[in-house]
């Protein structure tokens, strides 16, 4: 079937049944549950090692009260990284290209950190609105600016993920379209674009993993401020 450039971003539906649920449930099917064995197979060993490393890395600077978020953030990280990397395969739908879903992740989690901070230590949380060592005249302006930056955080989180992935996918589609068109007319140039595509694919793999990591890292930073 002929594809336009928008088809990869449409929320898939088969005969009226939305398939986005299947796309979202894919990461759950890919990772095995920890077994009762002491020594596991390679996949489970690597998975456990990765979770341990990641959780240690993210939660080292956060105090003990924030460690309650460990399961949430680790599972979020795994979810995002799987969705992103699985979306690089052809003919797949990447849920994280949808702004609605990313905002659905970003806003509640960000709001949770803010509310947590405001409830448990309001003075400390409000103190973050004014960086240390500002000149006295700038204080009102700076508070307004910091408040704006606070409220822009969820928007930034969601849009960052969406934009990165959408842009990456779109670029891959465009360059591969160019390659397929040039293959008929100017094959040598097609080789060039194919090389570009290869490098772009490598970049996209990296970006997919990095963006997921950055999302969770920023959330952990917001948590660190507020807990």
């Amino acid at each position: 079937m002929t594809l336009s450039l928008f088809d990869q971003f449409l929320s898939p539906a088969l005969m009226g049944v939305p398939l986005a649920a299947a796309a979202l449930a894919l990461p759950w099917a890919l990772f095995p549950r920890p077994t009762l064995r002491w020594v596991n197979n390679r996949l489970l060993t690597l998975q456990n090692w990765f979770f341990g490393q990641f959780a240690q890395q993210i939660f080292l600077p956060i105090n003990i009260a924030g460690h309650k978020w460990a399961v949430l953030l680790t599972s979020l990280m795994l979810f995002l990284i799987t969705l992103n990397t699985a979306g690089l395969l052809p003919y797949t739908f990447t849920p994280t290209t949808q702004l609605s879903m990313n905002m659905g992740f970003a806003v509640p989690l960000w709001l949770a950190t803010v509310i947590l901070g405001m409830r448990t230590q309001p003075t400390h949380s409000l103190g973050h609105l004014l960086p240390e060592g500002t000149p006295t005249l700038l204080i009102p302006v700076l508070i307004i600016i910091e408040t704006i930056s606070l409220f822009i955080r969820p928007l930034a989180l969601g849009v960052r993920l969406t934009a990165n992935l959408t842009a990456g996918h779109l670029l891959i589609q465009l360059v591969s379209t160019a390659t397929s068109v040039l293959l008929m007319t100017m094959p040598v140039l097609a080789v060039l674009t194919a090389t570009l595509l290869f490098l772009l694919t490598l970049l996209e793999v990296a970006v997919a993993m990095i963006q997921a990591y950055v999302f969770v890292l920023l959330l952990s930073l917001y948590l660190q401020e507020n807990v």
Binding site: L36, V39, S180, T201
Partner: protein, 308 residues
Amino acid sequence: MPHTGGPQDYRQTQTGQTAPHSLQCRPANWDKTHHLDREQCCVSTLSVILVALQKGTERPKQGARRTGSLKSSGPIGAGLVQASRSLQTSSQSLAPVPPLPEHGGKVRHGLIPEELFQLLYPKTGVTGPYMLGTGLLVYLLSKEIYILNHETIAAISIGSVIVYGVKNFGPSVAAFADKLNEDKVAKAQEVKDVAMSSLTQAIEDEKKEQWRAEGRAMLFDAKRNNVAMLLETNYRERLHMVTNEVKRRLDYQIALQHLNRRMQQEHMINWVEKNVISSITPQQEKESIAKCIADLKVLAKTTQAKAA
């Protein structure tokens, strides 16, 4: 009357029929048909309820009590029992698990599992899977079931990245995972080895201590001898000292006696000499001097004669 399930299945009436009845104590003609009075009815109903509750909450044994239990009664009986069983706490989860395979799954060309090739080998030989792949691809393309578009190029690109990754980093990642497991096992093994070596060391130390305990008797004998010798030496020293002291005192007495005697003698001699000297008259003195001179002359003459 709908089949309500529950305790009625194993509740038999007095007449031996499993007639369905509600949990109400007294339908209209029950006394006549079942010959029970009120107390018996209530007790039997309560016992039925209690048994039903007990059966609902107990952990079902493996395959036992299939007949007449809550599990097999009614459309949701099994689900109720399974829902009340909490995860991983029954003895089923303590059963030994089957062992893991020695090696991980093999893939050919980075993506296709080796099992496909093994599956097709008896019938189609070595080139079977490749022919299958080529034929399938050609079929899909020619029938336009799969259309070549830009996604194909993207698929080739990402496919090559994946195959490259699997082929180049696959063995090292597998070795890393194996090393993680081996380290885990090695740590436990080390604990066991350390415990064993410390226990064998303790056994040897104990044996050495026992040997030492045997030698202790010799040590005590030597010490006893030592002490006895010291005592003896001390005793003899003191004896010696006593002897010396006694001798000294006796010597003193002897010296005193000697001194006394000598002084007496000297005194006597002096007195005698004094008396003698005082008794010598001058007459006698002259006679004696003259005699001495005459003797000397005679002597001189004889000496000269001898010399000549």
